[in-house]
């Protein structure tokens, strides 16, 4: 997978590069619209992540250009503005998804991978981890070839773990991914524990290994059994 990151802040670029380093992706970075234009006209990318607030203009410009040059490229816009105008215009211009700053690295990875799956593999991939198989077209999960009945949020949670294997996910991170604006920091995140317990129980009942590892006081990690 080839990804172009258009972001002007070097620290954020560094963090994203680090976050994506173990995702089997080739990542290139630019900090200016002008440089991005050069890159786009020469190379083809699977995914382009573009920050809207760039020093030499609005990233929306790029969105339009990418769609003209290579409509198959998946575009994820990053906005700090939380401005609906930008989101709506971005999506209208052909962006596929947006993410609002500040975001969890795990969230960005999940979005990028989901976008890649949708755009490049036409959504038809089956994700596998040990004895677990996720068919994302039909949103079904199989353990040892037996269908597992999961609620919608349990499915989302499992998919999120799949995208972020071996990464620590905090309770806040998981809660934010699953419920977005419906929760905030004021909430007691103990319900995540119940949520994970339910998912674990269902997985184990069908004989899946112990993939979800609790890291005391920190969060959870999806690991090889």
């Amino acid at each position: 997978m080839k990804l172009l990151l258009i972001e002007d802040n070097p620290h954020l670029t560094e963090d994203i590069l680090k976050g994506l380093s173990d995702q089997a992706m080739t990542v290139e970075t630019v900090g200016l619209i002008a440089d991005a234009k050069d890159k786009i006209s020469v190379y083809e990318y699977d995914i382009i992540v573009v920050d809207l607030g760039l020093p030499d203009g609005n990233g929306l410009e790029i969105v339009k250009l990418i769609k003209e040059i290579n409509p198959n490229t998946g575009i994820l816009i990053v906005t700090a503005r939380n401005s609906i105008d930008d989101k709506v215009t971005g999506l209208d211009l052909g962006a596929d998804d947006y993410i609002t700053k500040p975001f969890h690295m795990a969230e960005l990875i999940a979005r990028v991978r989901s976008l890649f799956r949708r755009k490049k593999l036409k959504g038809s991939t089956i994700l596998e981890h040990g004895t677990i198989k996720i068919d994302s077209t039909s949103s079904t999960v199989k353990v040892n070839d037996l269908i597992l009945e999961l609620t919608k949020k349990e499915y989302d949670l499992l998919l999120y773990f799949f995208y972020n294997k071996n990464k620590m996910l905090t309770k806040e991170n998981i809660a934010e991914h699953l419920w977005g604006d419906h929760i905030d920091q004021a909430d007691n995140f103990d319900f995540i524990y119940t949520h994970i317990k339910n998912l674990r129980k269902k997985l184990q009942k069908e004989g899946a290994g112990e993939y979800i590892k609790s890291v005391y006081g920190m969060g959870y990690k999806f690991v090889e059994a």
């Binding site: 802040n9 620290h11 954020l12 963090d15 680090k18 976050g19 607030g53 700090a80 503005r81 939380n82 401005s83 609906i84 609002t100 700053k101 500040p102 975001f103 969890h104 690295m105 609620t151 919608k152 949020k153 620590m168 905090t170 806040e172 699953l178 419920w179 604006d181 419906h182 929760i183 905030d184 920091q185 004021a186 909430d187 319900f191 119940t194 949520h195 006081g217 920190m218």
Partner: protein
């Protein structure tokens, strides 16, 4: 709002003009009538004076009284010197029937005493005055129709003028009504040569420019603040997260890093929410529609149902298909999210969270402990329950703000262990 009945300016002016003209006409008529009466009296007095003079002259000369009688001198009788002289002269108007023209005509009669050759005569004179009176009454007969014609012409003119002269005024008003903040380029300048309208339009355009400039400054400001603030916050958060997962970190240090991480989160949310409030205040949400709420409520309930279950809360809904609100859908989304978030955060498993809509109201209630602060502080900024240190304390302030700009009414009460929020359109 002032609900008093209003009239348009030109009609008002016309009405006052007509009242004024009526007064002028009326007093003018009164004056002319009085003048006419005075003229009639003085003219007749002069004529009767000549007659008296003639009778005196002839009686003095010894002409027999009977030979003096004629058209104007009706009677001459001798009277005793002891008669009541103070009663004379007698002047009166009488109606006399004229058989030749078969009409009653008014005559003025004057009776005087004349002394001649030591004999007192009572002389009765008479003049037909009908034409004088006709002339006098003509004043009213002419003025009333003229006034009526004036009314008709003025009203007709008024209607014409309203259409013609006030057209630019109406078009300027139209532009004012159509004006939306941030869209001053849509205003079409109205061409007019009326000085007042030109002044009004110029003032309006200046104000619009100022309003738009203010609006854009604030919009840019909130966007810049968002961008410049959220990027460093994103970095702090990411770095803190990275540190947090480092295996080299001591437990004591991990706590410190966790605090940095949490506070960065808090700051980020605070910035976003305060920005949102500013944007609402700045009137940036203008996509107001008549929104049928049941679909949106169902969607949101679906999104949080599992969350509620995880907290052992039950959601009961009773939605009316007829419930609708006039609001920007994005703002309604925020209102609903915040009210539901509150219900789930503070709800206890003592009873269900209820969401009910009727034709006019949306009621969201949850069981829970009573408020730890005064009810009237509920919708204020940074007021929050004692057990939620991390809460922004802005959720309900945001709800109240949105309700205010969308002209919705939001009420809160605590009854039978339930917090009840009622939203009325």
């Amino acid at each position: 709002m002032n609900k008093r009945q209003t009239f348009n300016l030109l009609s008002k002016i016309t009405l006052f003009y007509l009242i004024f003209t009526f007064v002028v006409f009326y007093f003018n008529a009164k004056f002319l009538t009085r003048e006419a009466d005075e003229f009639i009296d003085s003219d007749l007095n002069r004529r009767f004076g000549w007659l008296e003079h003639r009778v005196q002259y002839h009686l003095d000369k010894g002409t027999p009284a009977d030979s003096l009688l004629g058209n104007s001198i009706k009677k001459i009788e001798k009277v005793s010197k002891r008669c009541k002289k103070t009663e004379y002269p007698i002047i009166e108007d009488v109606t006399i029937y004229h058989s030749d023209i078969e009409r009653n005509l008014i005559h003025r009669k004057k009776i005087v005493l004349i002394e001649s050759n030591k004999q007192l005569y009572r002389v009765e004179m008479d003049k037909e005055v009908q034409n004088y009176y006709y002339f006098r009454d003509d004043i009213f007969d002419y003025l009333i129709p003229s006034f009526v014609v004036l009314i008709v012409i003025t009203v007709a003119f008024n209607l014409l003028l309203q259409g013609y002269f006030l057209r630019p005024f109406r078009r300027i008003l139209e532009q004012m009504q159509l004006f939306k903040v941030g869209k001053s380029e849509d205003i079409q300048e109205v061409k007019t040569m009326t000085k007042e309208f030109v002044e009004m339009q110029n003032l309006f355009l200046t104000m619009v420019k100022q309003i738009d400039a203010d609006y854009n400054h604030l919009k840019e400001y909130t966007e810049d603040v968002a961008h410049e603030l959220q990027t460093p916050l994103a970095i702090i958060r990411n770095k803190a997260e990275g540190l947090l997962f480092s295996e080299k970190l001591e437990e004591q240090d991990a706590k410190v890093v966790k605090t940095i991480y949490d506070e960065a989160n808090h700051l980020s949310r605070l910035g976003t929410t305060l920005n949102l409030i500013t944007k609402i205040d700045n009137g940036e949400f203008t996509a107001v529609t008549e929104l049928n709420t049941s679909e949106e409520i169902n969607n949101q309930i679906e999104a949080i149902e599992e969350l509620a279950q995880l907290k052992s809360l039950v959601i009961e809904k009773e939605l009316s298909e007829e419930h609708s609100l006039t609001i920007d859908p994005y703002l309604f989304d925020i209102v609903l999210k915040n009210l539901l978030k509150n219900a789930i955060r503070y709800g206890t498993s003592e009873g269900p969270i209820k969401i009910k809509t009727t034709q006019n109201t949306l009621v969201i209630s949850n069981y829970g402990k009573p408020l730890s602060f005064a009810k009237d502080q509920l919708f204020q900024r940074f007021v929050k329950g004692s057990d939620s240190d991390q809460s922004l304390g802005l959720g309900l302030a945001l709800v109240a703000k949105i309700c205010a700009v969308s002209i919705l009414e939001i009420d809160y009460k605590y009854e039978r262990h339930q917090h009840i929020f009622t939203l009325k359109g």
